[in-house]
């Protein structure tokens, strides 16, 4: 059995004697006998470190690690610089709690202040929080921020990530907000439908850009329509795309949220990830989560503290660090366009009508599952099947031209044999 208790059995007896007790059991005298677990837990005996390692390696070995991945849909395999791993394994940072005691937490607080600055810079917003759980919960929190006394309805684009849509729906079930889904048309949010349904009860609209299919949305027109109706626009964005694409602020959004995982976090079977949230100044006091502010100590020295705590109710946060955005954005965009063009040329028609970022949808005669199975045999994780014949592909800077040419070659073969 492994144990992290330093005190020996003899020491424990001495400590018990010091407090006037004779056995460890006496410590639990207040627990009613009916609920004391006398027979012990029905779980296996403890293991040594080496056995735990073996067990874990065996489990990890049962997963297939794809050397080549063309799947995104909310989780993106970007290159994580070695330095990021070194920073996030520093024990002083990893083993600390929420920085309540600012005097001994300046490192964590300053890193969050810097993070807030970078998120504001990327999104064009005035204020960022210290982050929330992930992109989907950030979307849900963003919509909750829009709520006003006489406005209790949320409209969510059908072209947003399914998990973001679902999280918004769940939070609305909690706080009793009404929810309607804005249908998609030609792969983007249906602007005409939206204009018709923007009434005085709408508090907020959720739009993702680039959307689930990689398409760029008519975001400017949507923002104008939303504001004309007196509602607020929450924009879900991919932080990598902000290296080249217009910022949510430039499009006219009031709140920017998104999944921070592409900024140096591994795929990790879905978590832990990071949700970023930023907004215009007028909404600052509605922004949930922790916020770090700059101030001074008694000697006039600059320091950082958790601030605006009056509006904060929750213990939540994750953090990441990375500073390699625009470079990745260009590579991802270029790779996406390259692959899409190659696939289009061999009969996997690109469904995206206009410009897209690093994700796109193909439609083919060949069943999606046949394609994906064949790719899997070559150790390639292909795009996500959306239905029988449509596949959502994703490229990042990790995908080389050689890998993309290989996919094209394999798909050509599959098509020829079908």
């Amino acid at each position: 059995m492994g144990s992290y208790v330093p005190n020996t059995v003899e020491e424990r007896q001495e400590m018990l004697a010091a407090i006037g007790l004779s056995s460890m059991d006496d410590l639990f005298a207040e627990i009613p006998e009916q609920v004391r677990l006398r027979q012990g837990l029905d779980i296996p005996e403890g293991l040594s470190e080496l056995e735990v390692r073996r067990n874990m390696e065996a489990l990890a070995g049962k997963n297939k690690v794809f050397p080549t991945i063309f799947r995104g849909a909310g989780a993106y395999r970007h290159y994580i610089p070695a330095l990021v791993k070194s920073v996030i394994s520093k024990e002083n940072l990893v083993t600390a709690y929420t920085p309540y005691q600012a005097e001994v937490s300046q490192g964590i607080l300053q890193s969050i202040f810097e993070y807030q600055t970078m998120i504001c810079d990327l999104t064009g917003m005035d204020v960022s929080n210290a982050s929330v759980y992930d992109g989907a919960s950030a979307a849900a929190e963003g919509i909750a921020m829009c709520r006003e006394r006489k406005r209790n309805k949320a409209l969510v684009s059908a072209a947003a990530l399914p998990y973001a849509q679902e999280a918004i729906r769940t939070y609305c079930f909690g706080n009793n907000m009404e929810l309607e889904v804005i249908p998609e048309k030609d792969g983007v949010t249906d602007l005409a439908w939206l204009r018709e349904h923007l009434d005085a009860s709408v508090a907020g609209v959720y739009l993702q850009h680039p959307n689930y299919y990689g398409n760029l949305e008519p975001a400017e027109e949507i923002a104008a329509a939303v504001h004309q109706a007196g509602a607020k626009l929450v924009m879900g964005v991919n932080p990598i795309s902000l290296g080249i694409l217009k910022t949510p602020r430039e499009y006219g959004a009031d709140i920017a949220v998104g999944e921070g995982q592409p900024l140096g976090l591994s795929l990790a079977f879905g978590g832990p990830y990071l949700g970023f949230m930023a907004c215009v100044e007028s909404l600052m006091r509605k922004l949930p989560g922790r916020i770090v502010g700059q101030t001074q100590d008694h000697n006039g020295k600059v320091g950082y503290v958790l601030t605006l705590q009056a509006r904060e109710q929750h213990i939540r946060r994750e953090k990441a660090s990375s500073n390699i955005c625009s470079n990745q954005a260009l590579c991802a965009l270029a790779a996406g366009v390259y692959l899409a063009a190659q696939l289009d040329a061999i009969g996997f028609r690109t469904e995206n009508k206009g410009a897209f970022f690093h994700e796109f949808v193909t439609v083919s005669q060949v069943p999606a599952q046949t394609v994906l199975k064949r790719l899997e045999e070559e150790n390639i994780l292909g795009g996500l099947p959306l239905d029988e014949h449509r596949i959502l592909w994703c490229c990042t800077e990790r995908n080389t031209r050689e890998e993309m040419d290989q996919v094209v070659r394999i798909l050509k073969e599959v098509e020829a044999s079908c």
């Binding site: 492994g2 207040e30 735990v52 600390a96 300053q110 990327l122 210290a130 290296g243 503290v305 705590q309």
Partner: protein, 476 residues
């Protein structure tokens, strides 16, 4: 110095090879106009920047961290290594099920062990933290009542000693919070509970042991009263470290539980995340669980619960945190789990006995894994507050206890040593507390100025809130 002030145009890191496909740009009208100010530093300077920040942070690895209610125990290194295996970190969440059997087995095994520890039937790992778990658990209660057409239940009962997140989560779930007072013994006032229990009550949220560090001995009566009125009982697992392997929430009459893997199961807090707040429940609530449940024996697969409340975040929760917790539970096993809780309680009682002569306890008797002292008398006598003593501890290299919580105790300090501290550490801490007590009596002004050895002294929080300065300004 901020990273932005160290930035110099033209510097940077060589991370990626040149793009090997034709570069293109989006149309001008889709391009960002606002310049980007991401910092440009050499790798060496960047690395040094974060080392400098790390030096200005105090973690469990830096010293004693008796922060009440937060269970700051040692974070085992094997757990970190397990979670860093490429067979876990490089797995896309949307891979086909037959290529992620190892991940599914992690979830299935962790679920079965944790359900055994809590006395529950099914579990979701999707919630990312304790407060997120509370919100999820309350949604289960809400969905349960709604599914029965029982929509008049609009209230959640919460004792006045509860964690602040309890009422906040209840509000997020659309409930009205009714506060139940504690009796003079620190436990739930049964009479007041009976008065509040009616057919408009959806449920009760309770921490046991409670936030004053006492096990509520009337627990079976409490859950019975709530069930009698048709409500369900929610167990806030923040304090499970005191009783794991000794007693189970499921046997106490609770219907739904959230756990803090980052407290009880030794995963690091990361300066505020990532955590993991899985929710487990009795079979009657299982159909409403969010996310996907792992099913099957040899070939594992995901299944969506039929009346699911929906997703509370993306994918299946903070998976790597679950890996760490599983490694921890495997290490401790059936003997190690109760050994950990018993020693957490022993350490708390040992330290409490040492401090009692100088710092009055808010409640008498044996405590569980933590205890609450009240410094009201000391403050009246010397002007030295709980805050002053806490700040004084910083100069001893000790992270202070939780301050001014629970709210029902005046000038409160809540101390939770955890089981991973040795007797010497507790003795040294007692010495520090004693010395501060003496300083309070003889030179109280020295404590108002504490700390003096930290990178900064006490910070002006009022100014920070009055004139929010929340990001660096590039305009200078």
């Amino acid at each position: 110095m901020l990273i932005f002030e160290k930035s110099r145009a033209g510097r940077g890191c060589q991370i990626l090879p040149p793009c090997d496909v034709p570069e293109i740009l989006p149309e001008e009208r889709e391009q960002r106009q606002q310049p980007l100010h991401l910092p440009a530093l050499s790798e060496g300077d960047l690395s040094r920047h974060y080392t400098e920040l790390a030096k200005k942070s105090h973690g469990v690895n830096d010293g004693f961290y008796p922060l009440g209610s937060c269970t700051m125990k040692y974070n085992p290194k094997i757990d970190e290594e397990a979670a860093a295996l490429p067979g876990f970190t490089e797995i896309h969440p949307l891979q086909p099920a037959h290529t992620v059997q190892g991940c599914l087995e992690v979830l299935k095994t962790a679920e079965s062990l944790l359900c055994q520890i809590t006395g529950m039937d099914r579990m979701t790992f999707q919630p990312a933290a304790g407060a997120h778990g509370e919100f999820t658990g309350l949604l289960l209660i809400k969905a349960y009542h709604v599914s029965r057409g029982d929509t008049a239940r609009t209230k959640i009962l919460v004792p006045d000693s509860a964690h602040g997140t309890n009422p906040a989560s209840a509000a997020m779930a659309g409930y009205k919070v009714v506060s139940i007072p504690s009796g003079p013994d620190g436990c739930v006032d049964l009479e007041k509970l009976r008065e509040a229990a009616g057919d408009d009550v959806a449920g009760l949220m309770l921490t046991n042991p409670n936030t004053v560090g006492l096990f509520d001995k009337n627990i079976l009566e409490i859950t019975e009263i709530v069930h009698q009125c048709g409500g369900l009982c929610y167990y806030d697992g923040a304090n499970l470290n005191a009783v794991m392997g000794q007693a189970r929430p499921g046997d106490m009459g609770f219907d739904v539980v959230h756990l803090n893997l980052h407290k009880t199961f030794a995963t690091p807090h990361g300066g505020g995340g990532p955590g993991s707040g899985p929710v487990d429940c009795k079979a009657l609530l299982a159909p409403f669980l969010p996310s996907l449940l792992v099913e099957g024996e040899s070939e594992l697969s995901f299944r969506k619960p039929e009346q699911s409340v929906g997703e509370v975040k993306s994918f299946y929760g903070n998976f790597l945190v679950v890996v760490k917790a599983l490694a921890y539970i495997w290490t401790l096993g059936r003997e190690g789990i109760p050994e950990a809780s018993a020693n957490a309680v022993l350490n708390a009682n040992y330290l409490m006995a040492k401090l009692k002569p100088w710092y009055p306890m808010a409640y008498d008797g044996i405590c569980m894994h933590e205890f609450v002292m009240t410094l009201a008398e000391l403050k009246k006598e010397t002007g030295v507050s709980a805050m002053d003593i806490a700040k004084g501890l910083l100069d001893w290299g000790i992270h202070p206890p939780t301050m001014y919580f629970p709210l029902i105790v005046e000038e409160a300090l809540m101390v939770e040593p955890t089981e991973t501290e040795s007797r010497e550490t507790l003795d040294q801490a007692a010495e520090a507390f004693h010395s501060l007590y003496q300083a309070a009596k003889t030179k109280p002004e020295s404590l108002h100025a504490a700390p003096v050895t930290t990178p900064v002294t006490r910070l002006d929080e009022v100014e920070a809130a009055r004139h929010p300065h929340l990001r660096y300004s590039f305009e200078g």
